[in-house]
């Protein structure tokens, strides 16, 4: 009898543990991406402005073109693992190595998380970032997107969301950006990035490629930490 009680107890504990795990795992689904004027968006904008202040940008490049080491991220703006990488190791890299002129950072497109739900939105969202790049603000846009990223698969990336991000980018000519972001040239650039990623066998995001005077480090297809990134940079410097 006591044994049966223990078994029932264990079954109940297992159900509770898994119930909590499922609730945590699914938890983000009810959350929403912050709106442009929300406190969260304002806090994100302040962080991004502070991080990128004084760093030269051109197109998809952040940092000095004379920097000897180039770190390229193949990313998907809706990918939560890319967000982890961006707000972790990548922001440390920007603050420590890009700002000092040692490293230049390139952002390129590879559809992963977005394409699990809607392939059509991928070129639209990535082109929105590239359009900001035409005005030297792509990294502002990319950083804001990751800071304000919504729950995966909830269809939060709408025109209003993309426009709202652009309205937060300091110094961006919004009207020009709005006109540029539907350019077929930018969509082709996204497609070219994807083709190059496929040719190199990259299938997940973020994929990090580090190149320097001594060659190229083994590409990493995960959200690596800053020490790993540093050791990759050291190996090619």
């Amino acid at each position: 009898m006591r044994r049966m009680q223990m078994i029932i107890g264990v079954v109940l504990i297992a159900l509770v543990v898994v119930g909590v795990a499922v609730a945590i795992s699914s938890g983000g689904s009810s959350a929403k991406a912050p709106t442009a004027n929300s406190a969260a968006a304002k806090a994100a904008k302040a962080q991004v402005d502070s991080l990128l202040a004084g760093i030269p940008q051109s197109g998809n490049r952040l940092g000095s073109p004379a920097a000897k080491v180039t770190v390229t991220e193949f990313g998907d703006l809706e990918c939560p693992i890319c967000k982890d990488f961006a707000l972790g190791a990548e922001n440390q890299l920007i603050a420590n190595d890009v700002k000092s002129g040692k490293v230049q950072l390139i952002y390129r497109s590879l559809c992963t998380a977005t394409c699990n739900f809607s392939q059509a939105v991928f070129p639209v969202q990535q082109s929105a970032a590239l359009a900001a790049g035409l005005q030297g603000h792509e990294w502002d846009y990319v950083e804001l997107f990751y800071h304000e990223q919504g729950p995966e698969g909830t269809g939060y990336v709408t025109n209003d969301y993309l426009n709202g991000l652009a309205s937060q980018v300091t110094g961006l000519n919004y009207t020009k950006w709005l006109s540029d972001r539907s350019s077929q040239t930018l969509a082709s650039q996204v497609s070219a990035d994807e083709q190059e990623a496929a040719a190199k066998g990259f299938q997940s995001t973020p994929t990090i490629v580090v190149q320097g005077p001594k060659g190229q480090a083994q590409p990493q297809q995960s959200a690596i930490d800053y020490p790993t990134l540093e050791s990759m940079i050291k190996s090619v410097s």
């Binding site: 078994i7 795990a21 992963t112 998380a113 995966e152 299938q203 297809q221 995960s222």
Partner: protein, 158 residues
């Protein structure tokens, strides 16, 4: 030599069955542990995961369901399989019931993850399927160990 100190004497066949069940659980848990170790190494090293279906494993790995509260799911699997192996060393009802509890938890969570793979992520990772199968078999085996009444009681050593 078998020493029985409890009141109820178990059948010899029961002790043999328990031994076979423990060997089967050990073997399946080691397979699952191997999968979990591989996926944990791939996760932390950033290496490309070996996958039968092109891109499917990467798709699953890069989804939000690849982590639970910031902990990579393969690490949770690693802890689960080690837990099951540890309970095998505990020769008592407590060990059997704890083993069943861990396997059942792993099985139920595997069901949830498989559901997410099929209907949310729409990609299947064969390593995850392998681990889910291991957990399913382990749940059945540990449940048999718990339910059988002709198995050796707590103080039996063989």
């Amino acid at each position: 030599m078998t020493t029985v100190t409890a009141a109820a004497a178990p059948s010899k066949a029961g002790a043999g069955t328990d031994r076979r069940l423990r060997i089967a659980i050990l073997a399946i848990a080691l397979i699952g542990l191997g999968i979990a170790i591989y996926l944990t190494i791939v996760h932390y090293s950033g290496l490309k995961v070996a996958c039968l279906a092109s891109g499917s494993c990467e798709t699953v790995q890069s989804s939000r369901y690849a982590k639970l509260a910031g902990i990579p799911v393969p690490v949770l699997g690693l802890i689960g399989y080690i837990g099951i192996l540890v309970t095998l060393a505990i020769r008592s009802d407590l060990g059997r019931i704890a083993g069943f509890g861990i396997a059942l938890t792993g099985f139920l969570f595997s069901c949830y993850l498989t559901y997410r793979e099929l209907f949310t992520i729409k990609a299947i990772c064969q390593w995850c399927v392998g681990s889910a199968i291991c957990m399913t078999v382990l749940t059945v085996l540990t449940a048999i160990r718990v339910m059988r009444t002709d198995l050796p009681p707590p103080a039996v050593r063989d």
